[in-house]
Subunit: 365 residues, 4 copies
């Protein structure tokens, strides 16, 4: 397992670099009979794309996906679905600088340490360009989850630098609220402040970190495995597999460190209108108990670092260890969060689709 | 993959419930030729065991492991190593209460939702008793990592409730410091305060959360895979697979949300005495860049919730959704953190041993 | 994946050597709610055991299994089922001979080449003793297949040396016929001849090969995957994973080499009483088309070599390559076939149980 | 695991149907630093292609592969290598006949039984067109095996109908001999007879089966795992995953059924010029003992059925079970064997490359 496949039953394998011919994903294990066309892939690819707004990288990427297999007469056939997204922005440039120097905070050095050499053009395989393939694959997962269980996955930015948006009810945030502004913060006033901060940071030739919350509604109770493949564990892995994620927390999260047992455990209460007729009065547990979904909304939060690509001269070393300086010029996001939202949603969808199929396989006789 | 196997090449499969005959692990993939005996398993099992100190559960568990296979004339043979740890504490008691009622914060309800029924004795498969098998398996991983690369893994408690211990140099904390007190906090004064808090919480029939830091020293640069199986992703999954973990962060962690790019990225500097001759001046990145180890110490931190087992009467429902009350009497830890440390170290060791073998397989020609 | 786990969803992991403390299997992925007790494991273990008849090894192995987990109140819980079978026959003997010399046809040399050294007592991990764990695990698979689909798996010996039993209707052979004689050939007259041949071969201090047919009835149409994980491919792997199997064929088998298209393809015909209402008039295809089950009985055949353990002095080399001689004294089977039958059935059951769960997961929406 | 991925460490995932836009493979796990270009893929694709000679299907397929990722400046980077081979022959035709009727011997019925419907154009995913992706992936595996160990893989046709070619020394057959005639039988006289038979069968609107032998030379001793993942088991699975394979045998194969122990086991003898200095005098074992390579050539043989596509009217049923007739008109191979050779070699190469990496990972400390 060389690390480019994700999932056990709903399996996604990706390939591609930022400046090679294209990015590819193969989705294996999607049940037959799901209506699917290229149009289903476009919205999330557009949400992930650079150049979508005034506060993200102005880079132009024309993410037109082509479905190469696995769909016939508008429905999935049960065989693997391959999707190709060609890279458009391959103009030749001078990479002399990053070819031999290590950009601080980037994977240049560790790729060389691992592989002996690397495709240095635009980050190669470590570029966020790689997430196009994930987002395309996850559009299928989202559709499968919605078609079979009505599951909705919504992410939003809740922090940019010191600006923090909080809500008692993350599960009530809607996609419309999120998409109403370029920051993807559901509170318009806060979104405006965040946008100002992002613009200011860009003007200062700097970048800023932040955080995003991800919610999945209508996940039935009973998904996830008891020990190593807890739903929480697989979601955690999924989030940490995304570039720049430095922290993940579920429900009350790091707040549990100061909690007392009496103040943390959510109380079970009757819920006459659902099966099983049981829910909890609060959702500090974030929708999973013992790693298995409880029927409550799944709520998690990711901390995303400020992009390491900033156009200031900074000290570093070259590949022989000799001191030098480098500036990452180019068209980078001053804040990764707005474009992180669809990436986080994508990984959440992949995990849930996988566990949906696992539960189908292993549910009680 | 039903969720009881962890790892790709250094693979651990576990089985066992808290009140069945015993817990078992099978470690498959350990290279041949590693010196190994039962004695190597005992120290970490003792650190994990209840009854080890005045601030943990007084339950008696006699964790005597038996190696059933895979070791011959004192060395691993390359074939799977099975370890059996019998459960001693199986005295019959009246489980009537937890048989039909759902304990708040526990997995009783979600297990029923998933499987239709459950082994309700002492938590069954969701009991922390299950981690004995992990800790035994990980003792082999630790030995392998140390024998081949001199890797050391040390965890410590850095927070109990509001009491927080911080250090500029988590990588300098020693096992001796950690084991010098029952809390497993390296600062003796802080450890004493934490112990007082834990005792007070117990007296109040309550429990308290906290956090622990885990460090791996001497991991070479180049371990981990670029995309889905980032070392960070696999470590994140490993930690979230442990009971009660609600948050995980690496390096600067959630602190990155307020960081600027200039203040986050660690500067590369020459390091004449190592190969490659490159390191970073600081370690805000937590030892991984792009998901691949950088040669710096790996540093992560876990938030652990207060145990849900508290001896107070609390409202809940029974399995039909009827309101009732329950108190979890028994011999529970008022704070999980002291015993979490060896569990966290264990999961860290399993991930690193797996990626060590993966790097052996896939390193450059 | 170090080779001791089999299956994707119905997963079996085994450990154990012939002369260590015991053999273990962990069955992960069995759905909850299947009635199971130790008694379900005994019949096939007895059929596999040495000492069961006058024509197999007279070795005494007391295969008493202990279920360590995963079963509660007589039913599977959905958590992993661990089974321990202790080795009884561990009397110390002088292994000096096989310690340093390579027995012809055995794995002594290749184990040393792979691992650098080996547990030489009785074959260690390469001993057929290892199959006890598989047979125990497969008893669960058989029960699951029968409880959910009425599937029956029956194997029988169809060849011992030159003696060959053939039938137009392998799918009509019953377990009673097979178990009516120690050879496990359903034809009593042929069984007697085979028994005579086996006894004669033993008298000559030699061994003899043979073949066995395995049949699975009532497997529904639609199991198996189109490409790499064809049902045929997974069954083929399963059979070749058993000791001494040198050939596997399905349906018409090697007979297809001389066939013409007109004489091979089975004609589809209506089958009013089943769903889908379609079957084939003949079963030269062996129950799978395109690697997917057709609803016809699955029929395969395995060639099993004569055991390499014969008590005659033969030339060989020691581990330094120096010529010497060796005789494998001990209590060996003069013909492996009678005891191969339950092993073959076991592997067939494991594959089918796995694909049953896979089909549950991935069947059409 | 939905069946479109093969291998543990050298992992190939494929997608594609015969009449969709194209076939894709992603090769994940190839170590970095292997010289690779599109030219390396062409020879085996040409050997697999229809239209290559007067005795295979005259269909035109322009198998021009495009490498989409994983190669930089002429060398593999260690990241996944995606290869796209577009389908050229997608002219629209009338599929009315095979849309609703089941062709005898084909997977039409079983695909419908599994998935509920199918891409009926030209066999869809069950078409041999799918093997283009395998052959392209395996060209990389072959190059890796040769570059690191000098391993050579050669297959040849040894049987067409009643015509059988045998040799005492399959390991001495050369690629030049095989490629000297369109049948791919190394004996020119026999090849001519086989060619005549194939032409006659085609004239009779029929097809004919056959068999092929596959040899791998210079595989070092020690590859393969002791139990489930025996090299023999993985090779067996690989072969049975190819279309039309109904039997597989290793070394002496089904001949072992009539063998005596004294006549089967190969005698170990000194081999001064190699390490370890040990070999066997004969190779009835086919290059593996206990599932682990012995250093002798690996030799296996596959029986391949006559293609089920013959242009004669034959009785069958439609998808509702109603009797009808069908003739598979089109441009089919009267004998699959000549084109089977590169497919068989491909699967052998994938298995060996995988076990090469596994041995790298798990070899003795």
């Amino acid at each position: 397992m060389a690390g480019s496949t994700f999932g056990t039953l709903f399996r996604v394998t990706t390939a591609g670099e930022s400046h090679g011919p294209g990015n590819v994903c193969i989705v294996d294990g999607c049940p037959s009979g799901l209506e699917l066309s290229v149009d289903d892939l476009l919205p999330d690819l557009a949400r992930r794309r650079p150049g979508q707004s005034r506060i993200v990288s102005p880079r132009k990427e024309d993410d037109t996906p082509e479905i190469l297999s696995g769909v016939f007469e508008g429905r999935t056939t049960g065989t693997p679905i391959a999707i190709l997204i060609r890279n458009q922005d391959q103009r030749s440039r001078d990479y002399g600088d990053i070819k031999d120097k290590y950009r601080p905070g980037h994977a240049d050095f560790t790729f060389d340490a691992k592989f002996g050499f690397r495709d240095y053009r635009g980050g190669g395989r470590s570029s966020a360009r790689e997430t196009t393939a994930r987002v395309a694959a996850a559009a299928i997962a989202k559709k499968l989850l919605h078609a079979t269980h009505g599951i909705e996955i919504v992410g939003y930015v809740d922090q940019v630098g010191e600006l923090r948006y909080t809500t008692e009810h993350p599960e009530q945030v809607t996609l419309d609220q999120v998409e109403s502004n370029p920051v993807r913060c559901p509170d318009p006033a806060m979104a405006e402040q965040m946008e100002s901060l992002i613009k200011q940071v860009r003007k200062e030739q700097n970048s800023v970190g932040g955080a995003a919350t991800l919610v999945a509604r209508h996940v039935p109770a009973g998904w996830g495995e008891p020990v190593f493949d807890k739903l929480r564990a697989d979601l955690g892995k999924a989030m940490f597999s995304l570039p720049a994620v430095m922290g993940v927390e579920f429900g009350q999260g790091f707040g549990v460190a100061t909690a007392r047992g009496t103040g943390h455990s959510d109380t079970f209460v009757p819920a006459a209108d659902q099966a099983p007729p049981i829910t909890t009065a609060t959702n500090r547990h974030g929708g999973m108990l013992g790693g298995i979904s409880s029927g409550l909304p799944i709520v998690l939060r990711c901390a995303v670092k400020p992009t390491s690509s900033i156009p200031q001269d900074r000290p570093t070393v070259d590949k022989h260890g000799k001191p030098t300086t480098i500036a990452t010029r180019g068209r980078h996001d001053p804040c990764l969060l707005p474009r992180f939202v669809p990436m986080g949603e994508a990984m959440m969808a992949l995990v849930l689709a996988d566990h949906m199929l696992r539960q189908r396989a292993q549910s009680a006789l």
